[in-house]
Structure formats: C-alpha cells, structure tokens
Symmetry: C2
Amino acid sequence: MKKIAVFMLSFFALISSYAQENTFPEGTKPASSNIAGAQYPRIDNERKAYFRIEAPAADSISVSLGNVALTKDAKGVWTGVTKPLDPGFHYYTLKINGVNVNDPFSETFYGASRVMSGIEVPEDGVDFYEIKNVPHGKIESHWYLAESTGETRLAYVYTPPGYDNNSTERYPVLYLQHGMGEDRRAWANQGRTNFILDNLIAEGKAKPMIIVMEDGGIAQAFNSPKRPQDKNFWDGFEDIMIKDLIPNIDANYRTLRHPKHRAIAGLSLGGTQTYQISQANLDTFSGIGIFSAPFGFPGVETGYNGLLTKPDEFAKKVDVFYVSMGSKEGARAGRGTHEALEKASIKHVYYEAPGTAHEFQTWRKSLHGFAQLLFQD
Amino acid sequence: MKKIAVFMLSFFALISSYAQENTFPEGTKPASSNIAGAQYPRIDNERKAYFRIEAPAADSISVSLGNVALTKDAKGVWTGVTKPLDPGFHYYTLKINGVNVNDPFSETFYGASRVMSGIEVPEDGVDFYEIKNVPHGKIESHWYLAESTGETRLAYVYTPPGYDNNSTERYPVLYLQHGMGEDRRAWANQGRTNFILDNLIAEGKAKPMIIVMEDGGIAQAFNSPKRPQDKNFWDGFEDIMIKDLIPNIDANYRTLRHPKHRAIAGLSLGGTQTYQISQANLDTFSGIGIFSAPFGFPGVETGYNGLLTKPDEFAKKVDVFYVSMGSKEGARAGRGTHEALEKASIKHVYYEAPGTAHEFQTWRKSLHGFAQLLFQD
C-alpha cells in the first residue's frame, strides 16, 4: 500500500501542477482528446494547439505537430504553440531529450506501429462524427477461431441501433480496414465509425449495416523489413478474410449473405488490401471503397480480371466503386486513379476531402460519403 | 504525403533500432503487454524485467517498477533490469530527464488518472485469465442516455457465450467497478474480465452472467482537490447506477430483474462505492464483492441499516458477501473487515491473494473467486 500511495502521490503532484495554473491563453479550450481533467494541450479558434509541460530537468522538448520546439521558463515550465493545424485527428508525439514519447495528458491511439498521442482539432460546422442524442449502435469485441490458421482472433463489430431488439432482421455488412501501422482499433476509436453510422442512420441517409473491423496484418509494418512495394508485404490476410472472417460473421450475426449486401473498404494500405481482395473476389463484394491508397491500383488494362476494360460488365458486378483522398495529398493517393477510371468510362464516385491530408479527417469524410451510397438496391 | 512519409520514417528508424539487436539476455521473452513486434521490455523466469531504450541525448532514464535507474552505454543505449516483480499486471512509467512518460514500446492502460504503460508478468501455473480455445463472450460499448443527468454515457457490457444465439434466455447481472484514477476500461482491459468469465463458464464453474462496467466518476480523482476520505468524493454515481444504468440495462439486455440475480463489486475505491451503494440498496443487490478497499467499511454497529448486528437477517438479504485483498496489502484493505465480520458472525467469504499487492493480479483472482459463488440459487 505504501509504495502505491507514494507512486500515486507523485502523479497527483504532476497532474495538479496543471490545475494550479488558472489563467489560460484567451479563446482556448482543452482538446477533447485529452485525458479526463487535463487542461493542456489546448486549441484556439484558429486551430493552433498550445502545449504546457512542467519539466525542469529536460534540455529540449518538441512536439511533432509541425516539429514545434517548446521553450522553458525560469520555473522549468515548457510552453509552445503550433501553427494552425488541419481540422480533424492527428497522431503526435513529444520529443524529450531526443526520445519520442507520448504526451502524458493525451489519450493514446495505436498508429505508426506504436501507441501514440492524438489530438482532436474541431472543424467549423462539421459534426457528423460527434456523439449526438440519437439511437446508438454498439461496437463489440468478437473473438473467433480462425480455422485456417488455428489462432483465436479478434474482430470489432459495429451493430446498428435496434440490432438487439429486432431478432429477425438481417443486415448488409461492410468490411473496413485500417492503414499501415494501425490495427482494428483505428476505425473504432479515431475513425469514429460508430458515431458516423449512428448519425447517418438516424437521418435516414444510410442503410443500417454491420461493420466489421479486423487486423489486416500491417499493424507492425514500421517494424518490418518488408516495404509496401514488396510482394507479400502482409501475409495471408486475404485468406483470413475470405475463408475465416466472412463465414464466421455470417454464422454469428444476422447478415444478408449475398454479394449485393457485402462491401469492403480501407484507408491507405488498407485501400491497397481492398484492391487486392476485391479484384480477386468480385463474387463476394459489390461495394468497394478505396480511401487515400497510393499503392495497389491494378491498372485499367489488367485490373479486376480485365473488367476495367469492359465498363458495362464491371458495372453489373460492382454497385459502388468509391475512390477518395484528401486535397493535400499527392494525386497518386486517389485523383490519379479517378482520372484513369474516368478515361476508361468505369462508373465510380470520386471524392476529395477539402483541406486535409493523409489523416483521419479525410477518412471519416470518406466513410461518411461511401456509407450513404451502399446497399441501395 | 511527403510530411507523413518523413514522419513515418523517423518512427521506422526508432523502432528498427530494436530489431537490430539480435541477441537478447538469456531466458527472456518480450512482455505480452508490448506493442506488436517490440522486443523490449523482456521478462525472465525470475520475473525480472529488462529494459532497453536508445536515447543518446537523454541524461537520465528510470523505470517506475522499483524506481530502477537505467545506465547508458557509449552508443547512447540505456539498459537496466528490475528486481523480481510480483506476478500479474503492473502500471509503470519511464522518467526521462525528470518527466514521467509512457514507454513507447508498451501498450497503454488508463490508470492513476492518466494513460500509463503496463507490463504483464506471467505467474507460474496460473492461466485462468488467458485466452483459451473456449466459446467467447463479447464486451460491447453500450451508449445510453442517462435521463437523470441528460448526458450520453458509455457502459462496457460483457455478454456471455451464446447470448446472441439464444434469444429467449435471461441472465443475472454483475455491476463491476474500477478503482481510483481508472475508468470503465480497467476491468475490460487489464482486468481480463471477459477471459476470466469465458474460462469459468466453459468449465461449468460460474453461471453465465452479464457484467456491466461503467465509469464511477473517480477516473480523474488524482486531479481533484477532494480526497477519498471526503464526503462526496465522487458525485452522483449512486444515482446514475440506480436510476439510470440498471433500468437501462434491464430494458436493453435479457436480464433477470430480481435482486437475487443482481450483484455489485468493485476494487479499491470501487469497493468503497460498492459498500456505499449496496448498503443503501439491499433491495437491488444480493451479491456484494469488496476487493482491496481500505476505505468505506461502514462498521458493524451502523452499517447496512443495522443489519450487521443481525446476522440471520443479513444472510436472508445477502447471498454472497465477499471480501478480499492481496497478502502484501495492509490489513485495512480487507483482513480487518473480515475479522470484524467474523466477530459479528456475519456470513461472508474472505480471500487473500498470495504474494500480490494493491494490483490487478489480486483483483483478477478476486473476480475469479467471487464469480463462482454468484447466482447459485
């Protein structure tokens, strides 16, 4: 007990040093991504983030959001302000004497093959991913035995509002993949998948659907000698999805078991996986979403078993082909693909998120758009 | 894209420095609580933990597990080994140049009013909380409107294996509370509640039950000027549980809605809350579990509306009264209460977890014991 008490006390002292400062920069508010009660980091109306860290013995502290060096006052308190940040969610770290670490006052999020701090920057007039007073679906941890590998695996499954109360209705399913260095937690946490769908369903803008989020095997990609360009950058995920995950979800959830009612989408390298899995399995999926994927477009000539040269046949198989990127990304992440598809007269939808980069605000908006198009037949 | 690429590259470099060291201290394995692929921290057969961090520009690094100072070699790599640790889960932090931060290579866990690193130390012959090849229940995020406060709140709800496939069976419910500085995530993550119950149910040792984990309002306690001894240390949680949470769970899950089929338990300050809520609501709960709670025992004379002076009447109301602590804790955390109850001839079960302190191994074992006693009528 005594050891615990001392240990706890030291944190109390650390955290209370925040509470002692009662005046804050004008017009700033704590980021919603802070741990409960933490006053910093704060964000102002221009989307600049303010940091404050008490660390008398540190020689240098910087914040990865624009690589801002904090400055130290006579009392050993480090402060600094970023440039205006893009709206939405940003992973970040602090560098303290050269070591990349999390901000003790931020919630943490799995990204870039490690647990990182994250900061939520509000976007004026945009609230489609906020929690509202509408019926809420659930995200549940679904543990299942993957027969093909013998391992017990975890999927996060969103079930829409009313799923539990209505024991006969069946639902379409979207399989939704994270990016490189992330795992199944990405769409569930920083992606806000459940709130995006809850809100769309409440407004009647999306069909109630089940969304399955699994681990695409690229969670530790930054720690791997393989690169995305390499063949077999990830191992076996297509098999897991087609042979294990989909049959298991169909057996354990009230799904509509027909390709018309099944879609797949992914962000970044999860978009690359989506290309790979969807073109090999057009008898499984009829909705395809590619969000900010610079790698993997199979090319009009050879892609999708040659169907990209036959627009009518492709359109018969694929109800929704959705390509998106953030306007601050290079064309290769989406616009290039869109132009190639346009030229080949392939029916598709292209979306460019205004003013955001290769980050979750782009992908939240992509999911928001894509979900409204799905399962309309 | 370019900014992201540079940003990602720097992490790749950081993490790959681990991968480059191919020889590890003999008999050590990476901790299961590490992020995917991280080789450190490692644990040996004597339960000592080995740390290795590359940080040429740092002047001091220590690990809170026994306050072990790491030492720096000529290449700027810091290493160190702890004394043998108690088995189970331990929160910890690194102190880098005086700043308490998380270990970049550990998963994070909410505790002590902040996000912390955690290390899982195996216990010989103990696997009741490991994931096994048995039917698995789910933990789901249940968002609900708490009418009494007007806020949308989140409960984590464990449903046992088979809950979804059997649409008529009703289940008893355990309300399970975390400790000071933790929140609803504690039992779901570091507590391993779902695996403990999955395994017990598979062995036929516990009745299938629903377990509800909410936020007791003490998540930011370390950041509060109030102390546990103060009245109203937390505000309104009893009201939320009795007026909002229980009716909502009864309305949305297939529960058995009778005090015989409802229990409450908590660890540390959650045990204090359990005392408070259970004694004021003996018409709501018939099972009570107090794990490592040094505060809040109401005393034999006045507690539970005087029923602790009337053992027969108390036993009629309360089917299971379970008190526990770790053998390394002070008597006040449980043994003292047990002795007082014994003296008063109050029927109860006392358990002391061997060789552990005020930590999750004690509470996992407490839940494991308590759950087997519940709902046996």
